[in-house]
């Protein structure tokens, strides 16, 4: 059974009198443990498709189901829970909160989790994750004290904080040098293999895309081929 099923999904925006389909009649099936890369030019609808799967926005038509649950019909709060519990996001931009330290940025998703988390576990998990992305010495630093690449690595670590089932990564290695990019990709593949986390990654880097299980090419809101 597919973990994620995207069925004939369209996302349309109204710009003045004109309707623009950012994603147009897209269908896609993602198995648990898949590692998919989405490639395509700017404006081809990659980020919008990722946002639709992640419940960040609702489709104009069609349906998206996650483990047999139709997420396009969820309420705002239910979508928040879905994003918090099932999805780990890596955004295209530096997405750290400037007022929080690295540790606090990592802990942020745990504040929105259902129930009272155990007191020690999230903090020790944050330390483990930040060590895994090679920034153990920056745990109490503020984002302004980090380079763009370091901030990106913190955001990568944060995506794993709530033990997500799926990671949605929008050009996650964009700011990284080649070595770090390779290290991060290895880290993703490790998490995919060992923890069974599904990855859907938008990238412009064809070398990275080649290392995934499947590559989806998008153009003008539609999937050209898989």
């Amino acid at each position: 059974m597919a973990q994620i099923i995207v069925q004939n999904v369209t996302k349309a925006y109204q710009v003045g009198a004109q309707t623009i389909n950012a994603v147009s009649s897209v269908s896609l099936s993602v198995e648990r443990g898949d590692f998919i890369s989405i490639v395509g030019h700017s404006g081809s609808g990659k980020t919008t498709l990722l946002s639709l799967i992640g419940g960040i926005t609702n489709p104009s038509s069609g349906s998206i189901s996650f483990e047999d649950r139709d997420i396009s019909s969820l309420t705002s709060d239910q979508l928040s829970e879905y994003r918090n519990e099932k999805i780990g996001f890596m955004f295209q931009f530096a997405s750290l909160l400037p007022l929080l330290t690295v540790r606090e940025n990592l802990l942020l998703p745990t504040l929105f989790s259902k129930g009272e988390p155990s007191r020690e576990e999230p903090s020790s998990k944050a330390i483990d994750l930040i060590r895994m992305v090679g920034l153990a010495d920056k745990i109490e630093a503020y984002p302004s004290q980090l380079s763009g690449g370091q901030q990106r690595r913190v955001a990568i670590a944060r995506a794993f904080m709530n033990r997500p089932d799926v990671i949605l990564a929008d050009e996650p290695t964009g700011d990284l040098d080649e070595d770090t990019e390779r290290d991060m990709m290895n880290f993703f593949l490790l998490m995919n293999r060992d923890a069974g986390i599904t990855f859907i990654m938008v990238t412009h880097n064809s070398d990275l895309a080649k290392r995934s299980h499947r590559v989806i090419r998008m153009q003008q809101g539609s999937i050209l081929g898989q």
């Binding site: 946002s51 504040l111 929105f112």
Partner: protein, 398 residues
Amino acid sequence: MSDQFTLNSMALRNLRRRPLRTAILIAALTLMVSALVFALSFVMRVNASIRLTSERLGADLLIVPTGSRGSAEDILVENRATSFYMDRSLVDRVRKIEGVDKVSYQTYLVTLTGLCCSVPSSMVVAFDQDSDFVVTPWLKEKLGRRLKKGEAIVGSESAFNINLGLVEVDAMLFGSVFRMVGVLDKTGTGLDTAVFISDENIDDILKNGKMTIKAGQVSVIFARIKKGEDLYKVMSDIENSIIEVDVVMRRDVNKGLISTLGDISKIFYLTLILSTALSLFLVWAIFTAIANERTREVGIMRALGAKEKDVINVFLVEVLVLGVIGSIIGIMAGTALSLVMAKTFSILKNLPVDLTVLTRVGIGAAGLAFGTGVCALGALFPVQRLKKLEPLFVIKQE
């Protein structure tokens, strides 16, 4: 360490992010709440004092010689010594009017410093102890007996003037020595500077030739009407049947003062409305700026799983902290201002009633609720807009 990081701690850190902006908001709320606390303290104290003064007069109607209505108010309200007289026979005529229950009278004798007596300029009130129901209740309370001939009891302000306190002193009034045997409670009326004597003394005062008053004259007649009688009808009957008098209703005695205070209150309330509008605008403007500034952060939080209530929670804590701090400082400033003004405003200095601790706590609570409420109201729309934010909108903006 981890247990220190909560949505609340995030909110507090947000307040420290721009200390000047936070300080401006707190200052605006402080001003508004202090204006409210001062206005409430002033109005409540004055109203309570007017009510008490009116109650202490004890009579429903005050009857004075025609044309002396203003003079009566001068004495009762504004401490201004003045004299006016009418024939004592009018007392019986008033008594006979249908609906009148009890009648008493007083005679006001003006003293002038250095001319007649050793008491500084003040009003000497001679009253009939047999029929009196105006002074006697206080007298019983303070002295526990009737005044003897040659004895006087003084108003609270006069007591201060002649240093009367724990010991009795003798003072010269109209050529006769009077023993001052006690001090009455403050009433907030002009009679606080008066000296009260029994009207048995008037004959001796006349004999000494120190006064222009003629025998058998009185200044004011107090009338209490029977239960269930129409006050206006009795008042009208008195004025129609006795053309030599004017009748003043008890509640109209302070009419001028009430009107003045009404105007002052309006100024206070206007100031309050303006400062509230200013604070509301300021909170709205600043929180709109805050909302714009944090759009990206809120978008990220929402994408990471923050519910609308989580976003509200962060802003609510900020609003409450600002509101509470601003209100508490405002309450302290307003209370301090009202205490200082009570000593410097002549209108407040003579008031017989001070606010109880409970009333002040109540005013403080009202200030706290008002300050916090205005802050919450001002922040409502910007925060509402922010909580509805679609995360994709923010992500696409980047």
